[in-house]
């Protein structure tokens, strides 16, 4: 087995572990906010691992990662401003 395959297998193991960690965190007696933030953070970490090692961004020129980040940046702007705009507003 080549080096790549070992990387694939370790990344997969990490993804599974992180998912199990999400499930464990879910049942922990911690404040809801901390649990939620950690779970979403873990999801972001998993996404990053997949993008870097399964989609091979880690081995591609930086320009491609930068290009991919543009789309994510625009989504973050949309999410942040649209949700902020209704903070503290009651809908019936």
């Amino acid at each position: 087995m080549g080096l790549r395959v070992w990387v694939y297998l370790s990344v997969f193991a990490a993804l599974v572990l992180m998912t199990v960690l999400e499930l464990i965190l879910f049942g922990m007696p911690l404040p809801r906010l901390i649990i939620d933030m950690s779970i979403v953070g873990l999801a972001g970490g998993k996404a990053l691992l997949i993008a870097l090692f399964f989609q091979h961004l880690a081995y591609e020129p930086r320009s491609l990662s930068a290009f991919a980040l543009l789309g994510i940046g625009s989504v973050v702007a949309f999410l942040f401003l649209s949700v902020y705009s209704i903070m503290g507003i009651a809908f019936r």
Binding site: V5, D36, I50, F54, P61, V75, L81, V83, Y84
Partner: protein, 775 residues
């Protein structure tokens, strides 16, 4: 390269099958002008109605349909496609390419656009076409508009967004990967630069529109409650629509800015003033354009911080525009200005755009918006920018490149006549509307004191309309009787003028290069070219016809859809199996993607559009959850077991895809086939598990329309599931070919590209799982 491959211009076969960028450009040009006539006639009809509120030309529903379709057609089916007509024809010539990177996809964009337009037109003959304003505000266009034609029109828009996505991918890859040696990004002609920034904005804006249309159609057809519930409703739609809608304003404008740049240099015989600052300013505008949408919703009662932020960004975006327009004007100093038709239109368009820009600053001020919102001031402002700046600017482009496209000169006299009529008609039409700044938009009934202003506008509208007849006559007449143009009638310096008019199918004899800082041609080496490139394919037309049929059936008869889906499957296989040769030149300027091959770049561009699509759908979920006072606790509505199991299934399927790739790379056929089959099985298992989860929910009476938590869950995982399903179809195809020994060694890239898609779908699930099940 065999020019004989293309049938002659008078044969219908040529125009149905062509994939050559110049032919596709002409098709775009003719079609967009056709829609211009359609949108223009609608405008003249309601202008007549507006000449006198007592007239009964249009009933209120007819009036609403006329203004709605006028707006949609002009913005989405006229101005942008007209820009892409020029872009199709000119961009490959300006960068020294033989064609776009993906000629068949280019033809596909055109046909999808045409058939999207046809769907919108068919909706006229159903009960009612879209009558809810081109902005499709909610909940008017979801819960309060029961008409079938509105569904059809919406599907037409969906087809258009598909067309735009395909051409975005194509132009991004072409401009990044197919430039002549030495043609750095900053050395690109202004028009190509404008198009590059345009497609980058399209890449992130149009998927948001697609997401909006999917949510809206789902509300209308499946009964979800995104926009019919107060927590989602009007404001959620506003955010989604204007997140697309404001960049769209610059999307229609930027190609015209590019025309300004090229025409100004040619006819003032001077280099552009502060060219690099113009480029930097355009980049700033393109980026900022995604941060200003909130000024369309100042009065919706957004959080004060957000309103202030949007005021600052909106007014601030006028600064880079300042730099751009002033540089254009400073270019005229110490120049030798030839007032030929294209130059006249550019100067006129800049003057009009200045007025549009200044009045735009007014609308960026919330306090003034308390008065100007929803009035004719807004109508006047955006016509000064989008009709005067963009459309009139693009007409300059049509005149400028007409000799290149046809090999003939147009009549200068008629060109000037049109210019005079355009300037008089345009200003008579739209300036009085500024003065009607307290009159509501989209109403046929208004106070009598405004009648004189409205009547002047109507007369202006007809003069503006006649000016286009002059143009059509000029363009048609000169096609046959115009003076021969020669290669470079304007004495321009850019590359498109360094070949014949019209150019041969392969554009240049030899390969253009700027490697020594000046243009030279490397003689074509026949042996290196190998097999001739292909210029004809029936599949773009067939695919579009099939999609059209499948969608039309949704609002007419389900049998039509079934035929359409069958045709679609047939066309997809035909498209995939066709032997179509289009080579990338081995020489070329490709920064910053030198080491990213064109298929890879194309896939990543496509994935970017998918990122925005899912990003908006997931944001909509976060938004309605934030807006809702209550939300079921995790584990109550949804069974965490199902979600966790599907997470593990999909993660494993990602592993099997990369293992299939690794096997293919080393030429291991058993491994390739085995891991592909395993992926297929895991994908099917995922969908089966999902099916179980959904039927369980349905059996408890929880459906699309039950509540926002149910709606968001079903639709988000439904769109995701559809992506998994599409992936399974592709996997079936890959598996069938792998069984015959494909992809081993050299062909393994195909599996890599498929992996991009499959892993992306996996990543989406990685977010769906915690957001819907755990948090």
């Amino acid at each position: 390269m065999d020019p004989q491959q293309l049938p002659p211009g008078h044969s219908i076969k040529r125009w149905l099958l062509t994939t050559n960028h110049k032919d596709v450009g002409i098709l775009y040009l003719v079609t967009s002008l056709y829609f211009l006539v359609l949108g223009g006639i609608l405008a003249l009809v309601f202008r007549l109605q507006l000449a006198d509120p007592g007239l009964n030309i249009l009933s209120p529903p007819a009036f609403n349909q006329a203004v709605t379709i006028h707006g949609l057609v002009m913005v989405l089916f006229v101005v942008s496609p007209l820009a892409f007509a020029l872009a199709n024809y000119v961009v490959p010539l300006q960068i020294g390419a033989r064609d776009l990177a993906f000629p068949r996809l280019n033809a596909l964009s055109y046909w999808l656009y045409l058939f999207g337009g046809l769907l919108v037109m068919i909706s006229f003959f159903q009960d009612r076409t879209l009558d809810v304003g081109w902005t499709l505000y909610q909940p008017l266009s979801s819960a309060f508009s029961p008409y079938v034609g509105v569904n059809t029109g919406g599907l037409g828009l969906a087809l258009l967004t598909a067309s735009v996505t395909v051409s975005t991918v194509n132009f991004v890859v072409t401009i990044f990967r197919s430039r002549a040696k030495g043609l750095r990004l900053t050395a690109l002609p202004m028009f190509t630069l404008g198009v590059l920034l345009t497609v980058l904005m399209m890449l992130y804006a149009f998927p948001a529109l697609l997401a909006g249309i999917i949510l809206l159609s789902s509300d209308r057809i499946l009964g979800t409650v995104y926009f019919t519930s107060p927590e989602g409703g009007a404001i959620l739609w506003d955010h989604i629509f204007w997140f697309f809608g404001h960049p769209e304003v610059y999307i229609v404008l930027f190609p015209a800015l590019g025309v300004f740049g090229d025409v100004l240099v040619t006819f003032s015989r001077r280099p552009l003033f502060a060219r690099r600052i113009i480029i930097a300013a355009m980049v700033v505008v393109a980026a900022l354009s995604f941060l200003v949408w909130g000024h369309h919703m100042f009065l919706t009662g957004m959080h004060p911080d957000v309103r202030r932020a949007f005021t600052v960004t909106t007014i601030a975006i006028s600064l880079p525009f300042d730099a751009i327009i002033l540089s254009f004007i400073y270019t005229l100093a110490k120049a030798r200005i030839e007032l030929k038709t294209p130059m006249l239109f550019v100067l006129g368009s800049i003057a009009i755009f200045i007025i549009g820009g200044i009045t735009g600053v007014f609308l960026g001020s919330i306090a003034l918006d308390y008065v100007l919102r929803g009035t004719y001031f807004v109508v006047a402002h955006f016509h000064y920018t989008m009709a005067g700046g963009a459309l009139v600017g693009l007409i300059a482009g049509v005149y400028y490149w007409y000799p290149k496209m046809t090999g003939r000169m147009f009549s200068e006299k008629l060109g000037r006549l049109q210019f005079i009529l355009t300037m008089i008609g345009f200003n008579m039409l739209y300036f009085p509307l500024f003065l009607s700044w307290e009159m509501p938009r989209r109403v046929p009934i208004y106070v009598e004191s405004l009648m004189p202003l409205q009547q002047v506008a109507t007369i202006g509208g007809f003069i503006f309309g006649v000016s286009f007849l002059v143009m059509f006559w000029n363009l048609l007449y000169s096609l046959r009787y115009g003076e021969p143009a020669g290669n470079n009638p304007w004495g321009a310096h850019t590359l498109e003028w360094m070949t014949e008019s019209p150019p041969p199918p392969h554009n240049f004899d030899g390969t253009p290069t700027f490697a020594d800082g000046r243009l030279s041609f490397i003689a074509a080496n026949g042996a290196a070219h190998g097999e001739p490139e292909t210029h004809l394919s029936p599949w773009p037309f067939m695919l579009s016809l099939a999609s059209f049929t499948a969608l039309l059936g949704l609002t007419t008869h389900i049998m039509v859809s079934i035929v359409g889906v069958g045709l679609l499957a047939f066309s997809v296989l035909g498209f995939a199996g066709e032997r179509f040769i289009s080579r990338e030149d081995p020489l070329g300027e490709r920064w910053p993607f030198d080491r990213v091959d064109r298929m890879k770049l194309a896939w990543w561009t496509f994935i970017s559009s998918e990122v925005v699509l899912f990003g908006v759908v997931l944001s909509a979920y976060v938004y309605v959850r934030t807006a809702s006072a209550t939300w079921p606790a995790p584990g109550t509505l949804l069974d965490i077991g199902h979600g966790a199991m599907n997470t593990f299934i999909l993660l494993t399927s990602s592993l099997t895809v990369v293992l299939a790739l690794a096997s293919a790379r080393t030429g291991n056929r058993t491994g390739t086939v085995g891991f592909l089959a395993a992926t297929l099985a895991l994908g099917a298992l995922f969908l089966f598990n999902k099916y179980g989860e959904w039927s369980e929910l349905f059996s408890h009476g929880i459906t699309f329309s039950s509540s926002l938590p149910a709606s968001t869950f079903f639709l988000t995982t439904g769109i995701h599931g559809a992506h998994v399903f599409a992936g399974l179809l592709a996997l079936g195809y890959l598996l069938a070919r792998a069984l015959k020994g494909a992809y081993l060694g050299k062909g393994h890239e195909t599996l890599e590209y498929f992996g991009y898609y499959w892993h992306f779908v996996d990543i989406v699930w990685v977010f769906i799982f915690p957001l819907f099940y755990l948090v």
